[in-house]
């Protein structure tokens, strides 16, 4: 039993899980019926835990893409803007016709949105991998211009989509218990885990993040790896754009994906991946994303309003990262050592006597 506990505390998932557990505990005490899940009359599942996972879906997807980018030592702050472009693309392709008849077939619209994400990734990849521009600055360009592009596509309007199946992405497909967004997120997670286990791309990504030069000398195609991670991040943003657009059944170029890049980066960091790159933790990222969403849901549940939310979020996150930091662990170890010394000291006295 003791070794199991030890194994857990030393694993990379420990701290993120503890943070989440503390939050859940808080909820258990202060929020009624937090853990209750019930089945609604239309066959869908309903309850706060479901709500959290459901709302966290976009964030989980974005954070997965962000994990790999950060693991290479880079960053992608354009994802929020790409979400806006992608959701605008889908809505424009479906059209705002009141009768609900789409201008283009649904799956073409979906494909277009995903392609938009991929193109964004290729753009970012070219700047970072080929032109060797620093990631933060390179993705800043798309972040700045991206919303402009989205607004251009929607002509500054908010396009409401009446085509019924569009709502299925953000809601439930008739007859399916779980919200579609959760299914998509789950699929992404499984895909990522599969790729991670079955291919050696993970090793290559980490090598590039730790020492890109040495990776090159070892035969790794560094440019290709960098392109891959930015394209994947773009693809994730495209997917998230579909979900976000579907949630409001419209394209809102100004607000879609707003600040999502920051949340994604936070999720990755809470999960244990360092911003300098190297080792990454998919499980940690997922838990980090869920934690952030739980925090938001918790705050709403106890009545904190949406404009005050950032303040509380900030304090909780700062506390979490302080506790997760090396320095804190060091302080804790020193504290334990001192207590041990004191105990031994008293033991010594006993034996001497």
């Amino acid at each position: 039993m003791e070794s199991l506990v030890k194994k857990f505390t030393q694993s990379s998932l420990a701290l993120p899980l503890v943070a989440l557990a503390v939050l859940l505990l808080f909820n258990a005490f202060f929020v009624d019926d937090f853990f209750k899940i019930e089945v609604m009359e239309n066959g869908n599942l309903y309850g706060r835990p479901i709500d959290i996972l459901y709302r966290a879906s976009s964030l989980i997807i974005l954070a997965l893409g962000m994990t790999f980018v950060i693991a290479t030592g880079g960053i992608d702050i354009s994802v929020g803007a790409v979400v806006a472009i992608s959701s605008a693309t889908c809505c424009v392709m479906l059209g705002g016709d009141i009768s609900g008849i789409p201008e283009h077939p649904f799956f073409v619209a979906i494909l277009a949105s995903l392609c938009v994400g991929i193109v964004a990734g290729i753009w970012n990849g070219t700047l970072v991998a080929k032109l060797k521009i620093q990631a933060m600055v390179a993705t800043l360009i798309l972040m700045t211009a991206g919303r402009g592009i989205a607004q251009l596509m929607t002509d500054g309007q908010i396009i409401t989509v009446y085509y019924k199946p569009f709502a299925y992405i953000g809601g439930n497909i008739p007859g399916v218990m779980l919200p579609t967004a959760m299914i998509i997120a789950l699929a992404m997670v499984l895909l990522v885990l599969f790729i991670n286990k079955r291919t050696s791309i993970g090793l290559m990504i980490q090598s590039v993040g730790i020492n890109a030069n040495a990776a090159r000398y070892a035969g790794i195609k560094v440019t290709a790896v960098l392109f891959a991670v930015y394209i994947f991040s773009g693809f994730c943003a495209g997917t998230a754009g579909l979900i976000e657009g579907s949630l409001i059944r419209a394209a809102d170029a100004n607000n879609a994906g707003l600040n999502m890049e920051m949340d994604a980066i936070l999720a990755v960091t809470l999960g244990g991946t360092l911003m300098v790159g190297g080792r990454y933790y998919i499980g940690g990222t997922i838990i980090g994303a869920i934690t952030i969403q739980t925090l938001t849901t918790t705050m709403y549940a106890i009545g904190v309003s949406s404009d005050r939310l950032p303040a509380v979020k900030a304090i909780v996150i700062l506390l979490i990262i302080v506790f997760q930091s090396e320095k804190f662990k060091e302080m804790y170890r020193n504290y334990k050592l001192k207590r041990l010394d004191a105990q031994l000291g008293s033991k010594k006295e006993v034996t001497n006597a």
Binding site: S200, Q206, I210, N211, N213, A218, G219
Partner: protein, 511 residues
């Protein structure tokens, strides 16, 4: 006893340094006289750097006493020990590369002008004067430090140490990246400092240099103190025996490796290969089963040739043939697919992936070669890693240990293992023994020869130490100014001939 103590500037007595689970230093002594140059010798892991870290306040000793300039001291931080008069110049020069030369010398003590502002003009003049006066160097001190090569940066670090009135100067592997000429200049400066009464601790693996410049040697082995000796009364063989802890017979270290015998087939051939500014019109061949050396001065272009053969540098003209067929080279992977392997010169920057484990570092190139879809199972990775750890006698507690925590020699072995795992037909080793202790050096030399002899591999051995190449190579190509000027074969190969060839006075079998 008191009179004797006066001639010592530094005395470390009964030093213990214990870490959890490891006794890095046990009852170690170290004595340094005023105005002497002493060498601190020992194999990797013997405790040299630990002792220096105790002296400079990076580690806090567990037990023991340090007396400096007559007073007992307790250095708590590197800064404190510096302020006491003990300065260190490390291999990775500990200066700020983005600041100018003048600033690096004076930072923290800049000359001031009106309103307490930094007086740049005076600072730059002082820096210039200092460098010229103490080191005979005349450079533009307003340029950024990283504008200058490592050799010069070291000089600047030494200048700073001198100017901060150090009484003890510790030089940690200062000559690893220096050419012979630069080393000579360093020694001249060291002798000058010695005459001013400054004591120097010289840490190096280059036996010849130690015998040239040092007065005495202190030997450590496995964290224990073996003894202090006068240079004049300690033959090299005895020194090595003391370092390794076993009797070494005369001639055993010198040349205990038989030369390889090249097979008949030419594995790789180049025809007028040119890389502008880096490789001039190179035509040569490498046969399977032989060890070929590239000899030349620092900066003569040997590494560039190696990189061109491997594909990290791209040729602009000329052809490369492998087993008779021309190959197109666009990436290192192209050459890897042609069974060429390359162990780069600077293992820290071009070799190790620090935060990955030994296992991951070993399988990396092979995995890259297989492609990301043919992922090696963990089981297979473990087997492979264990095989090479065994074969090369890499000292690790566990294959999951992070490579950055290994000693230089073991790190080098891991990189070599990485390339051996790809089962190459041509293995290029660029300075594989740099910064590595004597014992591991001879292991690597023997490995190179046995790979050629027993496995029929073609091996390229690039080293700045001619002795190494004389011992291992059956053919030596002499490179000067990015051009191959001549080749030496079998019995022609000797340090004298190589040096003559570089100077242009020897003409062996020319291309």
């Amino acid at each position: 006893m008191a009179l004797e103590d006066n001639e010592y500037i530094l005395q470390m007595k009964h030093i213990d340094m214990f870490f959890p689970g490891v006794k890095a230093l046990k009852d170690v002594s170290f004595n340094l006289k005023k105005g002497e140059i002493i060498s601190l010798m020992g194999e990797n892991g013997a405790g040299k750097s630990t002792l220096v870290k105790v002296l400079t306040g990076v580690y806090h000793k567990t037990n023991g006493e340090i007396t400096f300039d007559g007073k007992v001291i307790e250095p708590t931080t590197p800064l404190a020990s510096q302020q006491m008069g003990i300065s260190t110049v490390y291999q990775e020069v500990n200066l700020c590369a983005n600041l100018s030369v003048a600033e690096n010398i004076y930072i923290g003590r800049e000359p001031r002008g009106a309103f307490g502002r930094i007086d740049w003009a005076t600072m730059q003049k002082n820096a210039s004067d200092l460098l010229f006066r103490e080191l005979g160097i005349d450079i533009d001190v307003t340029k950024e430090l990283n504008f200058y090569p490592v050799a010069m940066q070291q000089m600047i670090a030494i200048a700073r140490a001198i100017d901060t009135q150090c009484k003890v100067l510790i030089l940690d592997e200062p000559t690893s990246s220096l050419s012979d000429k630069e080393t000579e200049r360093l020694f001249k400066i060291m002798r000058n400092l010695k005459s001013q009464g400054i004591s120097i601790i010289f840490i190096s693996h280059f036996l010849e240099q130690i015998y040239t410049i040092c007065d005495r040697i202190t030997v450590l082995r496995d964290g224990t103190y073996i003894g202090e000796y006068d240079i004049k009364s300690l033959p090299r063989i005895e020194l090595i025996s003391k370092m390794m802890g076993k009797e070494v017979k005369e001639g055993e270290i010198e040349s205990n490796v038989d030369k390889s015998v090249p097979r008949e087939n030419v594995f790789l051939e180049t025809e007028h290969v040119t890389v502008p500014g880096k490789v001039k019109d190179l035509s040569m061949d490498i046969k399977s089963g032989e060890v070929v050396g590239f000899a030349g001065l620092l900066g003569s272009g040997r590494s560039e040739i190696a990189e061109t053969l491997f594909g990290t540098l791209l040729k602009s003209s000329g052809n490369i043939y492998i087993d008779g067929t021309a190959v197109s080279v666009k990436t290192p992977m192209d050459m890897m697919k042609n069974r060429i392997a390359f162990c780069p010169e600077d293992r820290k920057v071009q070799g190790i992936i620090g935060d990955l484990s030994v296992r991951e570092n070993i399988i990396l190139a092979l995995q890259a070669k297989n492609g990301m879809f043919k992922h090696m199972s963990r089981h297979r990775q473990n087997k492979l890693a264990d095989y090479y750890i065994n074969l090369l006698r890499i000292k690790v507690s566990d294959r999951e240990q992070l490579i950055k925590n290994l000693s230089g020699g073991n790190q080098q072995k891991v990189i070599i293992a990485r390339w051996l795992a790809t089962e190459p037909n041509l293995l290029i080793l660029d300075e594989p023994t740099r910064g590595i202790d004597v014992g591991t050096k001879s292991e690597i030399e023997a490995l190179a020869v046995s790979l050629a002899k027993e496995k029929g591999m073609a091996v390229v051995f690039i080293s700045g130490e001619m002795g190494e190449m004389v011992r291992t190579c059956s053919r030596v190509m002499v490179i000067r100014d990015h051009e191959k000027i001549t080749e030496l074969n079998d019995d022609e190969i000797s340090t004298a001939h190589i040096m003559q060839a570089i100077a242009g006075d020897y003409h062996g079998k020319s291309c």
